[in-house]
Every structure is written in structure tokens, then in C-alpha cells.
Symmetry: C2
Amino acid sequence: MVCCLIDKDDRSADKSRCASCSLVELCLPSALAEEDLLMLDEAISKRKIMQKADEIFHQGNESRCIYAVRSGAVRTYTTAKNGDEQTLGFHLPGDLLGLDCLDNKIHSCSGVALTTSTICQIPIKDLHVLCIKMPGLQRQLLRVLGDEISKDYTMLLMLARCNADQKLAIFFSNLSSRFGQRGFSTCEFELMMSRSDIANYLGLADETISRLIARFKDKKLIQVQRKNIKIIDEVRMIQIAEGECTLDQI
Amino acid sequence: MVCCLIDKDDRSADKSRCASCSLVELCLPSALAEEDLLMLDEAISKRKIMQKADEIFHQGNESRCIYAVRSGAVRTYTTAKNGDEQTLGFHLPGDLLGLDCLDNKIHSCSGVALTTSTICQIPIKDLHVLCIKMPGLQRQLLRVLGDEISKDYTMLLMLARCNADQKLAIFFSNLSSRFGQRGFSTCEFELMMSRSDIANYLGLADETISRLIARFKDKKLIQVQRKNIKIIDEVRMIQIAEGECTLDQI
DNA sequence: CGGCTGCTTGAAATGAGTCAACATAGGTGG
DNA sequence: CCACCTATGTTGACTCATTTCAAGCAGCCG
């Protein structure tokens, strides 16, 4: 099945299609040969079940595949020379991973499973061959890469300009909307990562996350039961995220 | 001339080739038709001279072109809903801009000339057509996009994990090596941006940059004459950048 | 020459980090 | 099945890096 290669956060896509097939749809206008479609299908069908904490790909290793999350969740991170780690993202079903190394280079980040996950492996050389035959696939690839870059820009802005309150509110809002895009509840969900992962991702200390979550709870923005989060004041949450009001104003 | 489309920071490229033609070289193996080469040449030959503070492209506008800096320097930045701006990068001759929107979408950042600059405009639709004819070009494009993503990851790590000293040291080191790649001196150069631009880029306050530059001068890491910077202790600079020692240890 | 903009410097304020102690949950083994 | 052990998360007190506010300075342009 080709359905794991979707475009995440697809702003223009019909939401109801959910985690499926937009890549294939884009390819259709170019009148794919039957054999090509089979090839795409074949390329995407290689799956692997990973357990929690299993490494999917490793920074510095030669890259032969890109990956798509089919089920479960994945954390990606870069490691600096001095050993510092920075979490780059949390990836849900439908997300593509390892896009930084499409030209047979080297992974510039690592990916690790946060829970038991199914991962599709897509050999880069197959992808190159297919792109030549299928201009639609090539364009979709450029689009996904462009989206990744835009998302990184948003992250840079958040890390550089937002205070801790805003960062956590942005984090919850994003996660909520991404669950929504996948057909899950936007107001109640399970965090698949540790507090420590969140802290690292947002460029904050672990303790700060604990305190902030407590604060959000006090202010009745969320209910918390360990990893279970229930957003009870989405409007305020977004206001905080966008800096329109502060936590102590509430 | 095709020479403005190079790959910046090309780790594997022969440094002496400097700001030229690697894109074309990559295309050659695919036995380009004469007309295709002319088309590439044509696509890249549209130039525009921009004055200081002129806007090259604007966030939110529909994207029809990507851009290459031919001479001068460009600053790119994103603007948040609340008006906050985040500088994403400073671009030197040979750098490509606007890569986030290769699939005829919308610019997710803006670009503005820091000095009088020559900018090549490359229509995206021409690029798509060329990519289909020239697999080498397509791969080079993916490569450049991958490099951009990797670079963004490094920025995220820097913003989230480094203290102010490290950030400035990293900034100087990077700028220095990028000047070097273009055949200029690595140890003496003119800053093309204001202190305020640097501060914004590094996620710091303007005053912090002033103080840090003064501090770097005191510690005899650099000499400063307004915008002229002379790095006099490159070794220490890199040590600071990588967190191997701190400023007050010097 | 005056005024403007960009830069520098000092003093005080503060948001987030650090350190340390404690709590809880989940897993493990007796 | 319970008791312990380790992971992970929470809370408080204190520290400190960086920001903020405010004033002054220098180069530059008309």
C-alpha cells in the first residue's frame, strides 16, 4: 500500500482524506505506466517494526533510505560535537523522516522510536529513478521538502523569540492540530514523549516544563494525568501561543 | 552565464572552483542537448540590481522564482502574526534563496538586500521543465534542499543550546569560513549587517551583542573598527564556539 | 552644524536555570 | 502479590545570564 507517503500538515488538502495517498494522486496526471505504479508501491512497501528506543537511522551514517512513519511515533534529534543533543521534532503517522539526505549523502540527524512503531523504508535510489519517470512525484517531493524548510523557519522563530509560556502553548497547540489532522481528538491526547524530551525540544530545562505544566493546570487551560493531556481552554491556549496574553493575566 | 548557481558550503567540491558551475557539471553526465543547456543558461540569466533595503521577495506572496545572490548580500527573515521578526540567514554570492517554495506555493520568508546586490531570478516553472529533462539538475536541487535543511538543524541546536558567547563565536566562525570559501580573507572582513541584525539572528538583545563584541575585543580574540572585524585568535574562537572553553577562562 | 541613527555602557530587574530534596509510577524479582 | 528499585516527574530556594531601561556617544548625511 502506498498510503504511508502522505504530506503532513497539508494546508490545501482535503482534511477528510487524512493520512493517505496524496502523493499518488499527484502522480496520476502524468499517466503512470502500470509498472511504475507497481514500482512505487514496491518501493514503499518495505516495512519494519521498531520497538521503543530502537534507532531508525543515525546521524553520520550513510543514507540509503528515507522513512515514513506508518504507526507509532518517532523523535528526531541532532548531536553536536560536544555531545549536546537537540530534539528536532516528534513525528506521527504519515510524516516523512530523513529528508535532509536525499542525494545519497549522510544523515544529519538521528531518529528513534518513542513507542512501538511501523516504519516504511523508501530506498533513495528507487526514488530517484521514479522521479525521472514521474514528474508528479518529483514535484511532490520538492513540496514536502519546502514544507520541511518552512516548518524549520517557524521553529527558529519560536526558539529565538518566544518565552517559556509561549513555547509550551505552541507545543500543545501544534500537537493538538496534528492529532486532529490524523482524525484523533484535538482536545485530549497522550503525550508520547517524556517531559525531558519536550524540554529539550523547546530549549528549556526539564524543571521548567514541570512548572509550566503545573501552571497551565492551575490556570485551567489543561487537565493533566501524567501523559494524558486534556485541553480545556483552547482559545486561551492559542492566545498565549501567539503572545496576545500572558499566563499571569489569567 | 550559469555561474551563479553554485552549491554553497559544498563539502566535497574542489574549493578552488569557488563560486561556479558545479550545478552544470552535475548535469553533464546526462548528455544535455545543446538547447537544454541554453535553456538553463537563459533561465539563470535574468538578473536584477537591488539597492540596500530593497525587498527581493516577500513572505506571503506567491512564489514564481527562486533567487541566487550574484553579488552583494541578502538577509532573509520570517515575520510572526504578532509582528515579531526572526532573521533566518545572511546570504553571500552563490547562495540560493527562497528554496522553501519550489512547488509554486507561497514564500514563507522575506528577502532584503543588505547592500547593493545583483540577484539572479530563476523561474520555478522553467526549473521544473529542466529538471525533467536533466536528472542531474534534479539531484543537485534535492542536494541543495537537503543542505538547507541540515543547516537549519544546526541553527536550531545553536539557538536552543548555546549561551551568548558561543552564539557569537559560532557566528564569526561561520562567516569567516563562508568568506574563505568565496576566496576572501577568513581573518578580516566587513560585516554587511547591523549589530541589531546579528542580535536578532542569534536570538539575543542588541545590547548583548555590543557587550559581547567588546568582550571579544578585550580578550584579544578580535580587533574591531565599526563593521570591520579582524579575527586574531581563530583557535580560541573555535574553542569558544564549540564550548571547549569559556570567555572568562581567557 | 545639528540632528539622526546606530552603537555602547551602566545599573537594575527578571525569567529561566541549577541544585537538591522529595514523590510517584511502573517494572522486577523474591 | 507485595516490596523494593529505578525512572521520571515535581517542588522549593537560590543563582545568574541576559534583558530592560536609560543615558550618553560617535559617525554620517544633508
